[in-house]
């Protein structure tokens, strides 16, 4: 079900206070009781209501109502939900708060030094101090961050910080790993930091084998955030230190090479098929 069209094409009836009550979707093919749902893969994104009235305020209202209803519904289900929209954890770039940062550290990851500023001089000082390299966080974009380096990076930074506050991370040198922690397994792709998607030309992320210990760490981190399926963007520095650049519950693996995409998809399908059992792995 496309979440953007769900409420246009399907009926939604949720008996909130009585889980055993009449709760169901109505589709063209018939009625699907919520209790018949054994697993959910939820990719909510932004629910727009462009066809609802001419006023922006009406659109905003309907979109907010739809999002609130779906988030509440997905949080209430007893079955496996990948991912349950934990309302406390929204679209932050790195940990949402100090508690999440603590969890990250406990799992053996470091957050590189971070600066948030709207002052061009401060931003440029940070950039220079870290060898003319920095990661610029852009959590509402795809990709959610990009590497700035050299004179081009400096120009981009000047342009951006002239318009709005920027959030910068030191860009550690090393191998960038994009890890997909999924129900107790961890899949990884590797690419030199300089070749992040968005660079020219884009290159696919190649599979890389992770040690069992690192897989376990990644899975523990995802679990600490309450996610069945998480994307962790990290840098494995030359001295083997692991720096977390981003972690979020909306994994984007379309940049990975095909076999890796297939492995992730297969695991997702297996997990969903097992439902509760999959969640307990």
């Amino acid at each position: 079900m496309d979440p953007a069209e769900l409420f246009e094409t399907a009926g939604f009836n949720w008996s909130v206070s009585h889980p055993a009550g009449r709760s169901f979707f109505t589709l063209e093919t018939g009625r699907v009781p919520f209790r018949a749902i054994s697993g959910v893969l939820a990719r909510l994104g932004h629910l727009l209501a462009a066809n609802w009235g001419p006023k922006l305020t009406d659109q905003d209202y309907v979109a907010a109502e739809r999002h609130a209803a779906l988030r509440g519904f997905l949080s209430s289900l007893d079955c496996l939900v990948i991912n349950r929209p934990l309302l406390e954890l929204t679209c932050g770039p790195v940990p949402i708060g100090m508690e999440q940062l603590r969890r990250m550290n406990e799992c053996g990851f470091r957050l590189p030094p971070m600066l948030l500023t709207a002052d061009p001089e401060s931003a440029l000082r940070f950039y220079e101090r870290h060898d003319h390299r920095a990661v610029l966080l852009e959590p509402r974009n795809q990709p959610r961050w990009r590497l700035l380096h050299g004179p081009e990076g400096e120009a981009a930074l000047r342009e951006t910080v002239g318009r709005r506050p920027v959030q910068l991370l030191q860009a550690p040198r090393g191998e960038v790993l994009q890890v997909f922690a999924l129900g107790g397994r961890a899949f990884a792709a590797s690419l030199p930091l300089e070749d992040r998607p968005g660079a020219d030309p884009p290159a696919p992320y190649c599979s890389v084998a992770l040690s069992p210990a690192l897989q376990a760490r990644c899975c523990r981190l995802a679990q600490a955030y309450g996610w069945e399926f998480a994307q962790i963007d990290m840098v494995r520095a030359d001295d083997e230190t692991l720096y977390c650049l981003d972690i979020h519950a909306f994994p984007q693996y379309d940049r990975c090479e095909a076999p890796l995409q297939q492995a992730i998809t297969t695991t997702l399908a297996e997990l969903l098929e097992r439902g509760h059992e999959g969640a307990d792995r």
Partner: protein
């Protein structure tokens, strides 16, 4: 140093500033509409330590000196009245996001952190948390199916209200028989219906560990709009059973709310129903009506 995030147009901010002035407390009013041009913020996070400063046209304050923050909502940067007229621009969104990140990370008392308020963004979600704390909750249906809304109305003997599912403010309204003719409008927009619970409204403000209960006597369905509905409204301080007070405190704590406005209704059979926990309560309104020193308790909390 205490940070008040807002503008003096907000009666809550104005009240707090007045009281802090009277106490000769050191505070700063941070108007996010003027961020980041006139009001600036810079902070770094390294090895779990937050460092940086806030700057207004008149002074600069190290973040280490900030002991507490109050905010009701964040006015969108670069707007005249706090809300963009043509939709938020990416740059405004980025500025807003940076404030949210800052307020979620700042190692000080924040009443309330933006992350703590998010459960109120889905009232049915929050209702499930409320029920886990032992409160009675009304029968609730969220639906886009007109026939189901009609059936809910019948099951509840015609005693049903409707209101928004999200945090968007709506007037709680009784569903009437003529409304049943326009239930087709539900399609596409999930709407929340609740069994109407008769009784007395009680607004509970928790301020840290302190608690203020205000009783509202009115015939209006939504007491906030009693005047608009042509109904009288009387508000006065109230006493709550110790167990209900304890539940309110536990609920606020579990939601991470240093300041909360909890909406209760005591039914004729003595049950306490809880409708929601508001993370941005207008304590000034209740204080004005009941003379309870809610704001003063908040000032105490911020000064502590």
């Amino acid at each position: 140093m205490i940070l008040i995030v807002g503008t003096l147009v907000d009666p809550g901010a104005a009240y707090l500033c007045t009281r802090l002035l009277a106490r000769e407390a050191d505070f700063l009013l941070f108007d996010t509409r003027l961020y980041p041009r006139q009001f600036q913020l810079e902070w770094s996070l390294y090895r779990g330590k937050v460092e940086g400063w806030l700057r207004t046209p008149s002074r600069q304050v190290p973040l280490a000196e900030l002991r507490s923050v109050w905010l009701r909502w964040l006015a969108v940067p670069g707007t005249e009245h706090g809300r963009p007229e043509q939709g938020i621009t990416p740059d405004q969104q980025a500025a807003l996001d940076s404030l949210v990140t800052f307020l979620n990370h700042l190692p000080a008392l924040v009443a309330n952190r933006p992350a703590a308020g998010i459960s109120n963004g889905s009232k049915p979600y929050q209702q499930q948390i409320i029920a886990q704390h032992g409160f009675a909750v009304p029968r609730t249906l969220v639906t886009t199916v007109p026939e189901e809304a009609r059936q809910f109305y019948e099951v509840c003997d015609g005693r049903v209200i409707y209101k928004s599912v999200s945090a968007v403010r709506s007037i709680v309204t009784r569903l009437t028989t003529p409304d049943l003719e326009r239930l087709d409008q539900l399609r596409g927009c999930p709407t929340q219906f609740q069994e109407y619970i008769p009784g007395v409204d009680i607004r509970v403000h928790t301020v840290g560990d302190r608690l203020f209960a205000s009783e509202i006597v009115t015939d209006a369905t939504d007491y906030r709009y009693a005047g608009r509905q042509g109904a009288a409204r009387e508000m006065r301080p109230a006493e709550l059973p110790a167990e209900i007070e304890a539940r309110c405190r536990r609920l606020s704590r579990s939601l991470g709310l240093a300041l909360a406005g909890i909406d209760l209704r005591r039914s004729p059979d003595g049950q306490y129903y809880c409708f929601e926990a508001n993370p941005a309560p207008q304590f000034d309104f209740y204080q004005l009506q009941t003379q309870q020193r809610i704001g003063e308790a908040l000032v105490d909390l911020l000064c502590e």
